[in-house]
């Protein structure tokens, strides 16, 4: 297709033609085009439909502030909704589709909303969809969701790869316009490490869109030469296509670099986007300024743009949006647009509401005039003007450039709650409180002239880096003053858009004011002004001005809403980086993992660990069959289980025993070398923190174990006590969880298995219950042996350096073959500990005390320990305190649900009659019925009582008998065998 609106000049590469499609139709553009400029070159102004009213919309801008021209790029799983056509770099084969329409873009069935606009005003949802209540979920919301909104997701997994990276620099320069380039150049020549980031694919900022000169060359050429010099310096990193999205604490900036978005075929092995964390010593914000529109009736038709956008399309992209243009401006910069368009052969009329402007130009100027309306169903065809004398005039044109002045881009200066300051001369907010280390230069600082930008950039770099010497010589450039008379909206009856993306009009702001929403933050939430994906970059100022006028206040009195990161929308994928799917967090494998996999184990995630849950065998119908077999085999002969994941902390030093006395509520000072003791840790508030064992391997050496889940917090707590409470104790801690592979060998035949492996005598006399020691195995490998039992059976835990873990498991299985040794997983482990009445995380659940757990007497009164004082509080020591109990169903075939509550046998069921609750439940293959552990008020004195277990969640009521929590071998004969 011909590019009928393509004109001479610009920075596009006319030799490189790129073919693309929009809504299935084929077009061609050139290298250097954006999707928007290429479509405009082809005479396409209509690019989308508005959010609420489905009004036809075209681009308002030529940059990232774009509210209207949002499209979907690519297709299938790669589909990317809500992409701004004004920043999407054109590539050959690009396919884009319009969004938020029902039917075609030119015939959108939902445009009926526009006819209903009298009803769809601010607060419409709140007022209309109040009742009937059920209608909201079933009718209103689905319909509204279908009609309103932007693009849609592919609902497929994103096949792209994203990455994260870290950068460091002396100076980060944000924005590569004249100020940014000059700042980067000044800094780079001093030898500083400089990063220059710009969201555009071509560095140069406004210089690429202007006909200005710098020195004796075109501004764009000066920019190109400066970029070339910067690129040649080893201390400079140029980052085009990189948006700095946030200014965070201590000079850390976030930035998103788009690596592949502009390529038809992504570079293989390269991520699509990289989220950079940039650590800076200093930063210069040179983010430029954004031209703001003026509101008037029907100011949202395709073809109505900011004046500087028309100028950019003409100067940078060689596109005349139309050969006849009107410029509506309240400031002198509008005349720059007019002059540039005029020079390109476009017929221009300037409409200026100021009464006293000179009309002596090469083009027509209407002083004291206002644009009062526009016409054109799918794009601008006529502009209606009220002249100074009150007469009306209509001009036929397809392009209307609007300039209400320029807003310095203060966004990043406000990310740490800084508030901008109102500048009367510019009629705009300028930066005031800056984040530490940040300087602002150029238009972002309110220096709107090119000379001001160059000088400001150089000065900012000099000050930031504390460079000595005079200012570098600056090339000559225009230094025109800003001349503006604030003018925000044209009064009239028609709908005048402030926020085009969220369809907020002057009327909506007026209505919200009438209804009492006087704070700017309330205005924002009620009307949704500035809440769209563009965050109101072109809208907020107008809304504030209208609000100020209604309230009879000055604009600075009304204030601004808070600017928050990110500066422009960021793909969720970029924030996730590589932390997706199985890589969401690290996966830790136990030393026996490979072996367990060979056995066909089913694994379960426990924190970051993968633990064997059970080891199914053929013929077993479900997991319960497997678990029952594993439990019975262990209790009847011998089983083996990987317990490496339990936390292990090595405690060494002359004061090691005193230290353990401090962290455990029970005493450790008198524990003999070669012995293990159960220990209970409390929090300082008297609640149980964790439990485990401490084995004394030498006078000054203990090995402490923690539960798997608490390995990290307990270690942290121990270090806290050591460093913050007892800093002079001679004690050192190190986590050795990963250093040792540890297996529990349990069951009546456990000793017979280990006798074949351990070189030393492990008979009951030589190595009784709760013994521990350094041993050797298999003829010399150092190992640790602990005679401890979680299952309640005769049991050992044996530990070897992790590298030998796999070999040890295979050796144990070999030695145990004669006894039909059975590997068991976490399920069987759980069943056996419930049968034995051992507490675990379910019981140490952050609300229970040592007394609740039936271990109240363990809290030593003879020594200080963490939590001891508050554990003696009156409130934690009443007669009706919860006590650990066991529970079994009266009818032995019934299940007992964990989490259920204990209630009296008779009477109503409600929270006030709650007697306690169940924490752990399972089927006991040894007893042949379900069992549970729980807490019951005064439970220790209520054994034998019959109660109800009530689970409103699962709608179960079971009659149970309260019993001892030790279902198996309460005297502990087995473990001492």
């Amino acid at each position: 297709m011909s590019q009928k609106n393509r004109i001479e000049g610009g920075q596009i590469n006319r030799d490189k033609v790129l073919n693309f499609t929009f809504d299935g139709k084929r077009y061609s553009g050139n290298a250097g085009d954006t999707l928007a400029s290429a479509l405009l070159a082809n005479g396409v102004r209509l690019m989308g439909r508005s959010f609420k009213y489905h009004r036809p919309r075209g681009p308002l801008t030529a940059g990232s502030e774009e509210p209207n021209a949002l499209v979907q790029l690519r297709s299938g799983a790669l589909q990317e909704p809500n992409t701004r056509a004004t920043t999407a770099e054109l590539f050959d084969g690009l396919s884009a589709t319009s969004q938020n329409r029902l039917g075609t873009l030119s015939f959108d069935l939902l445009a009926v909303n526009d006819r209903l606009s009298n009803f769809l005003t601010a607060g419409f949802y709140y007022k209309t969809f109040m009742w009937p209540k059920a209608f909201w979920e079933k009718l209103y919301e689905p319909v509204i969701r279908r009609a309103a909104g932007l693009g849609s997701l592919s609902l497929k997994d994103d096949p792209d790869v994203y990455d994260k990276g870290f950068l460091h620099c002396d100076l980060l320069v944000v924005g590569a316009g004249p100020a940014g380039l000059m700042a980067a150049l000044t800094a780079a020549r001093s030898g500083a490490d400089v990063i220059l980031a710009d969201e555009d694919f071509a560095m140069g900022g406004r210089l690429n869109s202007e006909t200005l000169t710098i020195g004796n060359e075109a501004g764009a050429d000066w920019a190109a030469a400066t970029v070339a010099e910067l690129a040649s310096l080893p201390n400079v990193r140029l980052m085009p296509r990189t948006t700095v999205i946030g200014a965070f604490d201590h000079g850390i900036y976030g930035a998103v670099e788009r690596m592949n978005d502009h390529l038809a075929v992504p570079q293989s092995g390269k991520p699509r986007q990289i989220l950079w964390r940039i650590y800076t010593k200093k930063a210069v914000l040179a983010a430029g300024a954004i031209e703001r529109p003026i509101a008037f009736a029907n100011n949202d038709r395709p073809g109505v743009m900011t004046a500087s956008a028309l100028r950019s399309y003409a100067n940078r992209f060689g596109v005349a949006v139309d050969r006849r243009a009107v410029i509506f401006t309240n400031n002198d910069d509008g005349y720059r647009s007019a002059a540039d368009l005029h020079a390109k052969g476009i017929r221009v009329t300037v409409v200026d509401p100021r009464a006293d402007v000179s009309v002596l130009k090469d083009y027509e100027v209407l002083s004291g005039a206002q644009v009062i309306d526009t016409m054109g169903r799918l794009g601008l065809t006529f502009v209606k003007i009220r002249l100074a004398d009150g007469e009306e005039r209509t001009i036929e044109c397809g392009a209307l450039g609007v300039s209400g002045g320029w807003n310095p881009n203060v966004h990043l200066t406000c990310h740490q709650r800084g508030r901008p300051r109102w500048d009367d001369g510019l009629a705009a907010f300028v930066p005031a409180d800056l984040p530490a280390g940040m300087r602002v230069a150029g238009a972002a600082a309110g220096d709107l002239s090119t000379a001001g930008a160059l000088a400001g950039g150089a000065r900012a770099a000099q000050e930031a880096l504390e460079l000595d010497g005079a200012m570098p010589p600056l090339p000559e450039a225009e230094d025109a003053p800003v001349n503006i008379t604030p003018f925000w909206y044209v009064k009239g009856d028609g709908r005048a858009w402030l926020d085009q993306q969220n369809d907020v009009t002057v009327k909506d702001v007026r209505l919200s004011h009438q209804e009492g929403f006087r704070s700017v933050e309330h205005l924002k939430r009620y009307t949704t002004l500035g809440m769209a994906t563009d965050q109101g970059k072109t809208a907020n100022m107008g809304g504030l001005a209208v609000m100020a006028e209604l309230a009879g206040k000055a604009i600075p009195e009304v204030g601004t809403t808070i600017f928050r990161p990110p500066y422009t929308p960021v793909a969720i994928g970029a924030l996730a980086g590589r932390h997706r799917g199985t890589e969401f967090h690290p996966t830790r494998l136990t030393p026996s993992h490979v072996w367990a996999k060979e056995q066909g184990a089913v694994f379960v995630e426990v924190g970051n660990w993968m633990r064997a849950q059970y080891f199914p065998r053929s013929g077993e119908e479900n997991w319960l069959d497997t678990v029952n077999r594993e439990v019975l085999a262990t209790r009847n002969s011998v089983g083996v289980c990987d317990v490496t994941t339990l936390g292990k902390v090595d405690v060494q030093g002359a004061d090691a025993a005193d230290f353990l006395n401090m962290i455990y509520c029970n005493g450790f000072a008198k524990l003999a070398v070669g012995k293990v003791r159960y220990g209970l840790m409390l929090r300082e508030d008297g609640i149980a923190l964790d439990d485990g064992t401490a084995a004394r391997l030498a006078e000054d050496h203990f090995v402490v174990t923690t539960t798997t889940a608490n390995a990290l917090p307990v270690y942290r707590h121990m270090e806290f006590v050591r460093q913050c409470l007892v800093p002079d104790m001679d004690v050192q801690l190190i986590s050795t969880t990963e250093a040792w592979a540890q297996y529990a060998v349990a069951g009546p035949n456990a000793r017979r298995v280990l006798e074949q492996i351990v070189d030393q005598d492990i008979s009951n006399d030589a190595f009784p219950f709760m013994a521990c020691g350094n041993v050797t195995i298999c003829g010399g490998l150092r190992a640790r042996l602990f005679r401890i039992s979680f299952s309640g059976e005769l049991a050992y835990e044996i530990a070897v350096p992790t590298a030998y873990g796999d070999a040890l498991m295979r050796r144990i299985m070999e030695a145990g073959a004669a006894f039909d040794i059975t590997p068991y997983g976490t399920e069987a482990l759980g069943v056996m500990r419930i049968e034995k009445g051992h507490a675990t995380g379910n019981e140490l659940n952050g609300t229970t005390t040592a007394a609740n757990l039936g271990m109240g007497r363990m809290v030593s009164t003879k020594k200080d320990s963490i939590g001891a004082v508050l554990s003696r509080r009156e409130g934690l020591n009443t007669e009706t305190d919860l006590r650990a109990v066991g529970v079994k169903p009266v009818d032995s075939v019934q299940r007992v649900p964990a989490g259920a509550h204990l209630m009296a046998l008779e009477g109503p069921v409600d929270a006030t009659r709650d007697q306690g609750y169940l924490t752990s439940a399972c089927y006991s293959p040894n007893l042949g019925h379900h069992i549970a552990l729980g807490f019951l008020k005064d439970g220790a004195n209520r054994l034998g009582e019959t109660m109800r277990v009530v689970s409103p969640l699962t709608d179960e009521v079971v009659t149970v008998e309260i019993c001892s929590p030790h279902f198996i071998d309460p005297e502990g004969e087995r473990l001492r065998a």
Binding site: H250, D655, D685, L712, F720, Q723, C724, L725
Partner: protein, 95 residues
Amino acid sequence: MIIDHPLLGPRDSSEFTYLGDASLIDRPDPAGEDASSDFYDYAYLRDNPAGWHKELWFHEAGDRSWLVVTRNTVTHEISKVELASDVARAQGRSK
């Protein structure tokens, strides 16, 4: 945020775990006359200032030092970073 570790230099705050008010170092005397109410204060009552605050950070992904960081909770400015063990000793804690 960046925490200037007294031994390791500037480190990113993501390497640290936050605990809270550094008054946790001032554990009361369990044998004191008012031990019960002192411990109640110690365990439950914290200042929550908008401004300068001494707080405990643990270099969990680093050298496992507990640090006392003096930080402005409004601006996140950090004025001082000390080893908690030094602070504890200076406050008279020993064994």
